[in-house]
Symmetry: C2
Subunit: 349 residues, 2 copies
């Protein structure tokens, strides 16, 4: 099963807000529904929302009333704008939208239905590629994990954050499937608790030993010498290796450095935004205070209490031991090695 | 009003589990109820549980059926054991119990009722002293805060954590009462959310500007240059200045050091445990996984999910810019300055 897929001319996805309690699916029938699902975090995780946006573009083509290519392209442009506005930080969303817009703009022959079909095939390809890429990252990254290790993980980067398999949690999965025996500390990851809800749910199913900890406890376990490796995902990586990821990632990186623990991010090259020189250019989404004050509807403090709720932070490249990509592990100096990896990626057929 | 006080031969306290929703009081009529209230965190905060334990000893004397001093002393010894077993980390509890036991052991004349009365007076004195000490710490510490500052605070160290006024939050209160204008970032402080529930409730009433943040966001705001000072409390301070405090404190200290931000703990000398050379001797309480999985009864993940829930961590002295005590601010080298402060305290009538 996949986090997001195309079924009967609709975009079907797991409603992640109900995990770990229920595995529910929703079918979305127009691009506005898809954008709302991304905004409301029915689906989340940079690669998953990339694939979702691609299917959203295919859906926009299918629901368009256009009978010639120019108005279909105009509808797709509008759909792309709607999707890009849904969440600002992860670049995979833009990457997927721009990829499908590029295809539409460079398809000057054929019928409207043929373009619809080509767009859907392209979205399917992005989804299929995502799984293949994740398995390749899993194989590359699994060498970082040894028997007896304890790996600290922040947020959720598993099958649910992607189409399937996962990025950082995908590395953990691959290592476990290889027979390595180790355990995982899951930051619960406030405010939305992706660690306690999504990552724990996935590791329960895989049988990987884990413990959930409060986010404030990461330093405690590191200081006790009980963490050997930190693996996280990324929502956008700048040309110099600075990267945005779920709020709390930056301080885990600082703690890892203080305790001399390797700190790796695991992300496909589609997460790299080579157009920005460093992390200061990454927009940080500020989300609803209710996520902090009433997580999943459970009020922990009055709704009028004052809150700051940045959804992401930026970890400077200097804290990164390496980036696990589908082309291998990229090491510092990252500006150099990221450029080389992108060049290799662009020359790959 | 006080967090804990003696009313009609009972120990009356605010039930802090209902803050910020309701201000409810409970009356406790025997030492077992007092110990349970400490264990279940009806009352929490090192100075508050110190005063509570003192009243618990007075209550044990009042409820004892002894008619001569030796069996009364035996009952007090049992009561002290029960109270000391309620929570292991904060030393103020032991300090208060031992103080009243010492008084009982060294009172060889007078009636049983006279000893009962003297024990109650001693407990009252501890409670009154707590407030006076907190105001002195507030005055000493307020010099650390300047107009325009943003002060980061972890957990709750306000009136609710003490008999009244507070320790670290008491410094914030005193500075605000002096007319200084600044704002406070409150770590929500998972798992029990003392920042979001108790500290925010107190600052709402005082009118001090604040924002609640997820614990994982502290580093984000520090990196943006938006934090000028960190103030926290302490549950036990070793002779070398290592100190135990609410889980998450240690990593705030690491982050403060990384960002060159002053990091002070605010604690009365009763929090200093000169019998232990360093923080490795401080027992760290492991609490119920349900605190993480179902805070205040609200299930965020299934009850069988695996959790580690250490309630405290130890911050090494090297991260401490200074300790605000009732005798002034103690600076590094802390082994030296703590010893001098204790010597001064012991020579004070």
């Amino acid at each position: 099963m996949r986090t997001v897929e195309w079924v009967d001319n609709a975009v079907r996805m797991i409603d992640q807000r109900h995990i770990p309690w229920d595995l529910r699916y929703v079918d979305l029938h127009d691009v506005e529904q898809v954008a709302a699902a991304i905004r409301d975090m029915v689906v989340r995780g940079a690669p998953a929302i990339g694939a979702t946006a691609a299917f959203g573009m295919a859906l926009a083509a299918h629901t368009s009333g256009a009978s010639t290519l120019p108005p279909l392209r105009a509808d797709l442009q509008r759909a792309g704008d709607i999707l890009k506005a849904s969440r600002p930080t992860a670049v995979n969303l833009q990457w997927a939208v721009d990829g499908l817009l590029h295809l539409a703009e460079h398809t000057s022959s054929g019928s409207v239905d043929e373009l619809r079909q080509r767009l859907l095939q392209a979205a399917q390809q992005i989804a299929d590629d995502d799984i293949a890429i994740n398995r390749r990252m899993g194989a590359h990254g699994a060498v970082l994990i040894q028997d007896g290790d304890t790996v600290l993980h922040h947020c959720n980067t598993g099958a649910l954050a992607t189409v399937d398999h996962g990025t950082a949690l995908g590395v953990i999965r691959t290592a476990f499937e290889q027979g390595k025996r180790f355990s995982v500390l899951l930051d619960e990851t406030r405010p939305r608790l992706q660690g306690a809800r999504l990552s724990a749910w996935e590791l329960e199913q895989l049988g990987v030993p884990y413990h959930i900890i409060a986010d404030g406890a990461a330093g405690y376990f590191m200081r006790r010498g009980e963490v050997n490796l930190v693996l996280v995902g990324a929502d956008r990586i700048a040309a110099n290796g600075d990267f945005a990821n779920k709020i709390g990632t930056y301080q885990v990186a600082v703690l890892a450095r203080t305790h001399d623990i390797p700190f790796y991010t695991v992300a496909p090259t589609s997460t790299i935004d080579a157009t920005i020189p460093d992390g200061s250019f990454i927009p940080i989404e500020e989300r609803d205070p209710a996520e902090v004050l009433a997580p999943y509807g459970c009020a922990i403090a009055p709704a009028h209490y004052k809150v700051c709720n940045p959804a992401f932070d930026v970890t400077p490249a200097e804290y990164v031991s390496g980036i696990v990509t589908e082309y291998g592990i990229v090491h510092p100096p990252l500006t150099h090695s990221i450029a080389r990896t992108l060049a290799a990626a662009n020359s790959t057929p």
